[in-house]
Structure formats: C-alpha cells, structure tokens
C-alpha cells in the first residue's frame, strides 16, 4: 500500500508544473490566482456587487447550466474539463471558499452589524465582494462539471451522488440568484386601524396588494424572576443555580447565604400608600411579591414587597444589606400573537392569527409576527409584522429536498471503497 503512495508521489514530482493532468499544485495555484484576481477587482472597483434581478438572474442560471452541459458534451475529454471535474480541483475550490468564509465568520459583517467600516478588500461585506463571488463561481463550476459527468449516461448507482451534488448545486445557485428578487418589508399595525403601506430597511414606503386591520394584540408572559442585584454597580448576581429564580409561592430556596420565601404573589397589582400591594385589573398593573428573607448565618430576617414595575408603575426592591438588594425582573414574553383581518386587492376578506413560528401566506407573501412595543408589553397596541416574498423558494426547496435524501443515502450506504475512479 505504501508503495503505491510513493509511486504516486514520485509521479507528481517528476511531472513538470502545468503539464496535464493537473494535480493539487496546479489546482491550488489556480485557486490562488482566482483569489488575487478577486482582490484586484475589489480594490480597483471599490464597489459592492449588486445581486441580479429578474429576468437577468434566471438567464444567468440557465446559461450557466447550459454552458456547463454544452462544454461537457463538446469537450468531454479536454484536459481542462477533466481537471475541472477532478477531486484536486474540487478540493482547491472548497479550500478557497472555506478560507474566505472563515474570514467572513470571524470579523463583523457590514450587512449585519451597524457601523462596520467597509475595507478595501471586501472582507467586511464578504457576500457582496469580488473575491467571494469569484470563489463561489469556481466552486460551482467544479461542482457542476462533476455532477453532469455522473448524470449522463444515467446509472442507477449514481442516484445518491446526483442527489448530493446536484442538490447542493441547485440550492446554492438558486439561493444566490434568488437574492435579488427577495423582498423583505415591515408593516406597523395599530389596533383598530387598516394598514396597507410597508417599509423596507431603508425606510422607503410602498403600497402593498394586501392590507391588515389589527383587531387584537395578545401577549402571554412567563412568571417574573427574583434575583439579587449589586446596589452600586447594578450588576445581577449570577453565580448560583438559584440566581434567577422564577417566582413560586411558599417554596423556600437558598441563595448567597440567604433563604428566600415568597409569601404572596400578584400578577397584576397596585401599590397602596401604606406600602402594601393589592391585586387590580387595570392597564399598567405590575407584578408584585411579598418576600421573607432570612440570613442563614445571622438569623436576621427582612420582609417586604418587591415589584418589577411597568411602563406605568414604579419598580421596588428589597434591600438585604448596604450592598445588595432583592429585585424582580420584568416578565419575559412567552408567546405573542396578532388577531388580524386580511384584505386583498381583489376584495377578499379573511381572518387570521399571526404568531411567531406560524407565518401566514397570502398572495405570494409570507407574513410574520415580528415585534411589538416592548415598553408597553402586553398593553402594546402596536404589532410589527414582516412581509417576505421569495419567488425562488420552490427551487431552493427542491435542492434542499434532494440534499436531505442525499444525506440519508450517505448514512445508509456509507463509504464504499471504489477502485474504478478515473
């Protein structure tokens, strides 16, 4: 076995550079050339690449695929075509993509984080830079030639191979090409009002073929938690398992050398002038709890009310020592939803509930529950929804479906030692 490796290695050493068949050296030199070309283009143009929009993206994709197929059938045995579908070319293209994506994954990206300065090489806006897009082109070229060589002539035993390789090609190409046609807009819905205007992330308003009337915004909350805060720094103490403890009546627990027990808890309450809290049912009523704290070392006890407050009510803590106080956090959202009436430009009317993870589909748009007025919490009369249109989604999903099946094939068949590769 080791003998064959040595022979292969020897052959590689003896073969002068750039004489076919190209091996790893040539492949990596080509990849480096592509990287340098990309960098040169980026530095000289200084521009972000713009995604193609319909019909140019569709034309590009068709030409790309037809081009690969045409070249494959016309020059099947050309040395460069053979190289393009070889493992060395694939690995060099994978490594090039990995190299650039590693940079992307390590430094903040302008399209994500606000205030990122764009650099001259395009590393801070990788997905719209020349180096990245040329690298992807090389990657998809090798993947394309590899795939088509196994599609024709069709053989049953290549089905797994085709699902994996063509599935990936289709997913990546259609996702990239579809980016230009993707629309993401937001709409602010106020209770009782009809809204048909949406705005993009630049704030440009546009009229939509659908309108919504928010009938009711609903928000369920988790029970708030108790924690200990440093009076001077304002930092929460988070060192122990009980550090942030969800309120539960009559269930004592220990934290930081104290034992705490919640004696009474009201989800909606108001503070009376004598310092006690009473349950009420009105807008802005805040959660409050009566707590007994006992210092485990000294036996000293403290008793009092804590409240998270609300947009209308004052917050209240229970001082334990000069340094620390017990406090109640604002309740976290468990579930929020908007009950809406939907109108389409065709004059159709329907009812729907929008909820996180349960988008609504109308007129080719997917509508998502996005956010609300977090200051007012469950009394918010504003619901922000997002509208997304992605006409390329079915093709992307076709690619994803192929890859899912391909993954199952990989696990099922596993590695087969082949001895009939080129």
């Amino acid at each position: 076995m080791t003998k064959t490796i040595h022979q292969e290695a020897k052959k590689a050493i003896q073969k002068p550079l750039w004489v076919f068949p190209w091996q790893y050296k040539e492949s990596f030199l080509v990849a480096a050339g592509i990287l340098l070309t990309g960098l040169a283009l980026q530095v000289s143009t200084g521009q972000e690449l713009q995604p193609l929009i319909f019909p140019y993206n569709a034309i590009f994709m068709t030409v790309f695929w037809a081009g690969i197929a045409g070249v494959h059938f016309a020059f099947k045995n050309n040395s460069i075509v053979k190289w393009l579908r070889s493992v060395p070319a694939s690995i060099s293209s994978i490594v090039l993509v990995v190299f650039l994506v590693m940079i992307m994954g390590s430094i903040p990206q302008a399209n994500f984080t606000q205030g990122v300065e764009k650099d001259i090489f395009g590393f801070s806006h990788m997905t719209t830079s020349w180096p990245f897009n040329l690298a992807m082109f090389f990657f998809l070229l090798t993947l394309g030639f590899t795939t088509i060589n196994r599609v024709f002539p069709f053989q049953k035993r290549n089905i797994g191979f085709i699902l994996n390789h063509f599935g990936l090609w289709l997913t990546v190409v259609s996702a990239t090409m579809g980016a230009g046609d993707l629309e993401r807009l937001m709409m602010d819905l106020y209770e009782g009002k009809v809204e048909y205007r949406a705005y993009d992330d630049q704030g440009n308003m546009q009229e939509m073929p659908i309108a919504f009337k928010l009938k009711d915004f609903k928000l369920d909350e988790f029970t708030p938690k108790l924690g200990i805060v440093n009076n001077k720094t304002g930092n929460l103490y988070l060192e122990e398992g009980n550090s942030m403890r969800m309120i539960e009546e009559n269930s004592p627990y220990e934290l930081m050398g104290w034992e705490f027990e919640v004696k009474k808890y009201f989800y909606e309450s108001v503070r009376l002038s004598n310092g006690r809290y009473e349950p009420v049912n009105e807008m802005g009523a805040a959660p409050a709890a009566k707590v007994i704290a006992r210092n485990l070392a000294t036996g000293q006890t403290k008793e009092g009310w804590v409240s998270s407050g609300s947009f209308r009510r004052q917050f209240e803590g229970l001082p334990l020592t000069d340094e620390f106080s017990l406090i109640m956090t604002l309740p976290e959202a468990k579930k929020f939803s908007s009950e809406v009436e939907v109108f389409t430009y065709k004059g159709e009317k329907s009812q729907a509930v929008l909820e996180v993870n349960k988008p609504l589909e109308v007129e080719g748009w997917k509508v998502y529950q996005l956010s609300y007025d977090s200051n007012r919490g469950r009394w918010s009369t504003l619901s922000v929804v997002e509208l997304v249109r992605d006409p390329w989604l079915p093709i992307v999903y076709l690619g994803i479906a192929m890859m899912l099946l391909g993954a199952i094939d990989i696990m099922w068949t596993g590695y087969k030692q082949k001895n009939n590769h080129e």
Binding site: M1, T2, T4, I5, E8, V87, S90, I94, V97, V98, V101, M102, M104, G105, S106, I107, P108, Q109, F112, T113, M126, A175, R184, F222, L238, E240, G241, N242, S243, M244, R245, M246, S251, Y253, E332, A333, K334, K335, E355, V356, N357, K358, P359, Y368, E386, V388, V396, I400, L404, G406, A407, I408, I410, M411, G414, Y415, Q417, K418, N419, H421
Partner: protein, 265 residues
C-alpha cells in the same frame, strides 16, 4: 423545585457505572464484554433519566443553555462508544468517549446552570428538538471520528499504523456528516418559519457551514486516494479544529455580536 439539585446524584451514579465499564477491562473476567455492555448502558440510562426529569420540570426541552447541551453530549458520546465497541470492538474509543462524557459532567458540576424555565417564542417550534438532537448527535460522532484520526496520527508517527482505523473513521464520518447535513437543512427550514429567511450567514450558521465543508475535504481525499494515510488523517484532525470553533469559539469571535444564536447572556 430545581432539578439541578439532584444532578450530582444522577451524574455520580452514571460515572460510577462507567468506571466499572472501564475498570473491568483491566481484569481477566470471562464475562468482561457483557459487563462492559450492561454497566455502560445503565450509566446512559441514569443520565437519560436525569435529562427526562429535567425536561419534565422545566416544561420545555432542556436544550437551551450550554449546560443543557453538555448533558446531551455526555449522553450521546457513550452511546456511540458502546455501539462502535459492540460492532468493531474498539475499546480505546469507548474509553475515550466515556472520559469525554465524564469531563462534560464535571464541567456542569463546576458551573451549575441557572434554573431557567423561560424559552423565547422563536425557539418554540416543532423544529427545535429534531434540529438540536441531530446536531448534537452529529457533533458527537464527528468528534469521535476525529479522535480516531488523532490516534491514527499517533500510530503513524510513533508506532505502526493500522489501516482499520481509517475504515472506522470513514464509517463515523459518513454517519456524522449525514446528520450534520440534516442539522443544517432542518435549521434552514426552521429559520424560514421563524425569521423569514432560510440562510442569513449568521456567524453560527457560517461556522456550521465551515465545519460541513471541512469534513467534505476529508471525504473526497479518502475517495480519491483510498490508500493514502497522512493527508486524510490530517484533514480529519483539522476538521475537528473547525468543529471546536463552531461549538465553543463562536461566542468569543468579534463577529459574535451579531449572532441570533448565542442565547447565553
């Protein structure tokens, strides 16, 4: 009541049983293999029971915090070790996976998790459990495959390399890679439902993609050069470095401030 209080008891039982699994190998007991199998699985069951109880008291899947994911690694690693032992009789891999699992349990003991029942609405989805389980399972298998690579490299440089190791690595990589693909794609389908788009090059997604690509390099090297030893082993060891960054490192990279997936505060 917080379940984490019972953690040392359950973890202690699991560790004690796994010590039996490892200790019995040093003896000449005739029923050795059977005892390995039984004590190993009982340890898994003990930990599984703890996870089940935790799930029950939290009223949500225990998959949100780092401490909770470490529990799942400690659960799956010995499972993989036991299966590979049953199938191929690799004792060292079984022992490694147990040691790793014990280390994870130890980390959890040193850094107790805050008891936290809340789960943000975006995570309340039928995709949540399959996505996380498939990922964790895949990472655990791929970690095991990379251990094989490190062991193989040791053999290669300091003693004689056994080609069987590469076959084992391959079996693990194909299985782990398949799960990783499922994890990535489930994540994409879920993201579409929750955030409106299937892929946003979020740092966590980016590093998961890199991990996936790194294992692709290994698979293709192996396919093209079935007899080669050094290059596939090194590529597999390097892929593990990428996996580790994906898993631990992302939160510390400058890019992390923009991630939607770092739930720890």
């Amino acid at each position: 009541m917080s379940n984490w209080i019972n953690f040392p008891a359950f973890a202690g039982i699991a560790i004690a049983l796994w010590l039996v699994t490892m200790g019995i190998q040093l003896t000449n007991n005739k029923q050795k293999d059977l005892i390995i199998w039984i004590s190993g699985w009982l340890g898994v069951v003990a930990l599984g029971a703890f996870i089940g109880l935790l799930w029950h008291t939290l009223e949500r899947p225990p998959m949100r915090t780092l401490g909770e994911t470490r529990l799942w690694y400690s659960f799956f690693l010995p499972v993989i070790g036991l299966f590979t032992f049953a199938r191929w009789k690799y004792k060292w891999l079984l022992n490694y996976s147990i040691v790793m699992a014990v280390v994870f349990l130890g980390i959890n003991y040193m850094n107790p998790d805050t008891y936290n029942k809340t789960l943000m609405p975006a995570l309340q989805s039928p995709w949540f459990v399959p996505h996380v389980i498939v990922y964790i399972f895949s990472y655990a298998i791929l970690a095991a495959s990379s251990l094989v690579a490190v062991y193989g490299l040791y053999q290669y440089y300091y003693s004689t390399f056994n080609h069987k190791n590469l076959e084992l690595a391959n079996n693990l990589v194909y299985l782990g890679f398949g799960f990783l693909t499922l994890g990535l794609l489930f994540g994409a389908l879920w993201a579409k439902e929750a955030w409106g788009h299937y892929w946003t090059w979020d740092p966590k997604e980016t590093w998961a993609f890199l991990t996936w690509m790194a294992y692709l390099v290994y698979m293709h090297l192996r396919y093209r050069h079935p007899a080669a030893v050094k290059s596939p082993l090194w590529s597999l060891a390097l892929a593990f470095v990428v996996l580790l960054i994906c898993w631990f490192g992302v939160n510390y990279l400058p890019s992390a401030q923009q991630s939607v997936h770092t739930y720890t505060n």
